[in-house]
C-alpha cells in the first residue's frame, strides 16, 4: 500500500500494451478496410512504446519499493519480450484474416463483424505478452500465478480463433485441458510452498527458507512444493514430462500462432521458474550425514537438482529424437522447441552465477531464430494452404533464393554452426555449465546438438540441395511483405548479433543483478 504509485509506475510497459489491446479489439471491427489494416501497426507502435516506457520507469528507487526477488530481471526481460513480440506481430500480419479480407476487397463478400477475427487475435496477442511481462515483476506467488494465467488463457483462444477447422479446434481443446491440469499442479506446488513458509511474498519466503537451510534443512513440504511447481511449469516450457501436447498443438494451430506458442509461454515459464527457484536458492544448502556433520554444497537443494537434471536431460534427448522422426515442418519445429527448452534448463540449474544470464542470452537467440524460421514459412503458401512438409520446400532456392537463404541461416543457427548467433549462445551455455560444475549436462547438450543436426540439416537439404518437385512447384510467396520483412531482419540479426556478443552477454547477465541468494541471506542472518 505504501509505494502503490511507484508500483503502478513500474508497470507502465504493461499498461501501454493493455490499453493498446483494448484499442485493437475495437479497431479490428471497424467497417473501413483502412482502419482494419492499421491494427498490426498499432500493435507494433504499442510494443515500441512499451520498450520506451520500460526505459523511462525502471529506475533503482522504484525497484526498491517493488520488493522484487530479481529486481533487474524486468529491464532486460521485458525489452526482450517486446522486441520478439514485434517480430511475432509481423509473422502474423500476412495470414490472419487474409482470405476473408481478399474476398471483401474483391466484393465477393460483404463485411460481417462476426466473421472478422483480426481485432481479437491481436488483442489476445498483446494481452499474452502483457502477462509474460507481469510474470517478470512478480513480488509474490499470487501475482506470479495471475501473470502466468494471463499468458496462457489468450493462447488457448488464439489456437482456435485464427483458423476454423477441426484440427485447430482439436488442438485448442487438448491445449486447454492439459494446460488446466498443469496449472493445477503448479498451484498445488504454490500451496505447499505457502504451507512450508507461511508467506506468499517471495523475498520473505527466501528468508524463511534461508533460516530452514541454516538449521535442519528445508522441510519436506517446501521441497515437494518446489518440485510440483517445477513440474507444472514444465507445461509452459514444453519440457518433459509435460511435452506431449506440443507436437499436436503446434501442428493444429495456425502458423503464426505456432510461432507465438514457441516463444511467449516459454519465456514466461522460464521467468516464473527462476523466480520460484530464486526463493529456494542456489547456495547455502547442506546435507547432514549419519554422524551429524553438515556437508555444505553449492547449487539447488539436491532433490530439486535431481528432478531438474532429469527433466533437462530427457527434454533434450526426447526432443531431438522426436524431431528426427517427423515429416511435418511444424511438428519438427515443435520438437526443436522442446529440445531448446532442455538446453535452457541447463542454465537454470547452474543458477545466478552465469547460468541465468546465459539462459536469457539463449532465449534472445531462440526468439530471433523463431521469427526467422516462421517468418520464412509464413511468407509461403501452397494452393492457399500453409506449407507444412519438407517435400513442399524442395528446391526453394530456385523459386525464392532469398527465403531459401534465410531458412538456411536460421536452421544452421538452430543447429549451432558458428559464427551464427544461435551457436555462440549455445557455446556460452556449455561454457557456463562446465564452470558451474554441470559437466555431465554440458556433455548431454553437446551430444544432442549432434543429434539435432539430423533434422535441422533436412531444412537446409530441402531448401538448397533438393531439386523442385511437382508439389513444391505450386509453392508461391504470399502477397504481403510483413512476414518476409520479419524473416529478413531476424535472419540478418543472426549474422550481425555475434559482433555484439560481449555486450549482449553483459546485458543478459544484468538479469540477476540485485538478487540475494539463499547462502548470502543465511550469512546475513547469522551476522545479526
Amino acid at each position: 500500500m505504501v509505494d502503490m504509485s511507484q508500483t503502478v509506475a513500474l508497470l507502465a510497459p504493461e499498461i501501454v500494451l493493455f490499453v493498446a489491446s483494448m484499442l485493437v479489439a475495437v479497431l479490428g471491427l471497424s467497417r473501413s478496410t483502412g482502419i482494419r489494416s492499421l491494427v498490426p501497426w498499432v500493435c507494433v507502435a504499442a510494443l515500441v512504446g512499451s520498450i520506451l516506457a520500460l526505459d523511462a520507469v525502471w529506475t533503482p528507487e522504484r525497484i526498491q519499493g517493488a520488493r522484487l526477488l530479481f529486481p533487474m530481471l524486468g529491464k532486460y526481460g521485458k525489452a526482450l519480450i517486446a522486441l520478439i513480440g514485434i517480430g511475432l506481430v509481423a509473422v502474423s500480419a500476412g495470414s490472419i484474416d487474409r482470405r476473408y479480407e481478399e474476398a471483401v476487397a474483391r466484393g465477393r463478400a460483404s463485411f460481417d463483424a462476426l466473421r472478422v477475427v483480426r481485432g481479437e487475435y491481436y488483442a489476445f496477442l498483446l494481452l499474452s505478452l502483457t502477462g509474460a511481462m507481469l510474470v517478470m515483476s512478480a513480488p509474490d506467488l499470487i501475482w506470479l500465478f495471475l501473470g502466468l494465467e494471463l499468458v496462457s488463457l489468450p493462447t488457448y483462444i488464439m489456437v482456435a480463433v485464427a483458423r476454423t477447422g477441426r484440427r485447430s479446434m482439436e488442438a485448442a481443446m487438448k491445449y486447454f485441458f492439459l494446460g488446466a491440469l498443469a496449472t493445477a499442479v503448479t498451484l498445488y506446488g504454490f500451496a505447499m510452498l505457502y504451507g512450508a513458509t507461511g508467506t506468499m511474498q517471495l523475498i520473505a519466503m527466501r528468508d524463511v527458507l534461508a533460516e530452514q537451510a541454516a538449521g535442519p534443512g528445508l522441510s519436506t513440504t517446501a521441497l515437494l512444493g518446489t518440485i510440483l511447481t517445477v513440474l507444472g511449469l514444465c507445461f509452459k516450457l514444453a519440457a518433459v514430462p509435460m511435452h506431449f501436447y506440443a507436437p499436436d498443438v503446434y501442428e493444429g494451430a495456425p502458423l503464426p500462432v505456432t510461432a507465438f506458442l514457441s516463444f511467449t509461454p516459454k519465456i514466461a515459464g522460464f521467468s516464473a521458474l527462476i523466480t520460484v527457484l530464486g526463493a529456494v536458492g542456489w547456495s547455502g544448502h547442506a546435507m547432514v550425514d549419519h554422524d551429524g556433520v553438515r556437508i555444505a554444497y553449492e547449487g539447488l537443494p539436491q532433490p530439486v537438482t535431481a528432478v531438474l537434471w532429469m527433466v533437462a536431460a530427457l527434454t533434450m534427448v526426447l526432443g531431438n529424437i522426436g524431431g528426427i522422426l517427423q515429416t511435418s515442418l511444424k511438428r519438427t519445429l515443435a520438437y526443436s522447441s522442446i529440445a531448446n527448452s532442455g538446453y535452457m534448463l541447463v542454465g537454470v540449474i547452474v543458477g545466478p552465477k552465469g547460468g541465468i544470464g546465459a539462459m536469457y542470452l539463449f532465449m534472445l537467440g531462440y526468439g530471433v531464430m523463431t521469427i526467422a524460421t516462421f517468418g520464412v514459412l509464413a511468407a509461403l503458401e501452397r494452393k492457399g494452404e500453409e506449407v507444412d512438409s519438407f517435400e513442399s520446400l524442395a528446391g526453394l532456392r530456385a523459386a525464392h533464393p532469398g527465403l531459401a537463404f534465410l531458412l538456411t541461416v536460421s536452421a544452421l543457427s538452430l543447429l549451432g554452426v558458428p559464427p551464427l548467433f544461435g551457436a555462440l549462445a549455445k557455446i556460452v551455455l556449455v561454457f557456463v555449465a562446465f564452470e558451474g560444475g554441470q559437466a555431465s549436462l554440458a556433455a548431454v547438450l553437446l551430444l544432442n546438438t549432434a543429434i539435432g543436426a539430423v533434422y535441422y540439416l533436412r531444412f537446409v537439404g530441402a531448401a538448397v540441395v533438393n531439386p523442385q518437385n511437382a508439389k513444391s512447384q505450386e509453392v508461391v510467396a504470399i502477397p504481403h511483405w510483413w512476414p518476409k520483412t520479419a524473416a529478413i531482419v531476424a535472419g540478418l540479426g543472426l549474422i550481425v548479433l555475434p559482433a555484439f556478443l560481449s555486450r549482449l552477454v553483459d546485458a543478459s547477465a544484468t538479469t540477476v543483478d540485485g538478487y540475494v541468494d539463499l547462502g548470502e541471506a543465511v550469512a546475513s542472518e547469522t551476522e545479526r
Binding site: V26, D112, G217, L218, S219, T220, T221
Partner: protein
Amino acid sequence: MNGWNLSSDLAAYLPVLMVCVMAIVFAAINIVASLLLGPKAEGAVKGMSYESGMDPIGTTHKRFNVRFYILAMTFLLFDIEIIFLYPWALAFTKLEPGSAEAGLFLARIGVFVGTSVIAYVYAWKKGVFRFD
C-alpha cells in the same frame, strides 16, 4: 537426512482427512437409509418431469437461435461485473474522503468500469445485440 520431519508436517492435515471421512460416511449413510426406508411408488406419473406440476407440452429437445446464447453469455458477463461494484462501494465508504487511498480506490474502479465499457462497445460492434 535430518530435517525431513514428514510425520509432523502431515499431522497438520489430520483435520482435513477427518472431514473427508465424515463426508463419505454421511453420504453413504443417507443413500443406504433412503434405499432401505424410503417408500417406493413406481409408475408413469411418478416418472414425469414435473410430477406434481403442469403436464409437459411437446419435446424438450427444441432448438433455439444461437444468438440467444451469445446474448445470455454477454448478460452474465456484465451482470457479474456489476456485482463487483457492491463490495467496492462498501469498502469505499470506510475510506477517508479526499485521501490518497480513496483516490487510488476510485482510479481502480474507474479502470474496471472503463474496461467494461470497452467490452460493451466491442460486443455492440461485433453484432451481439442485432437480431435481424
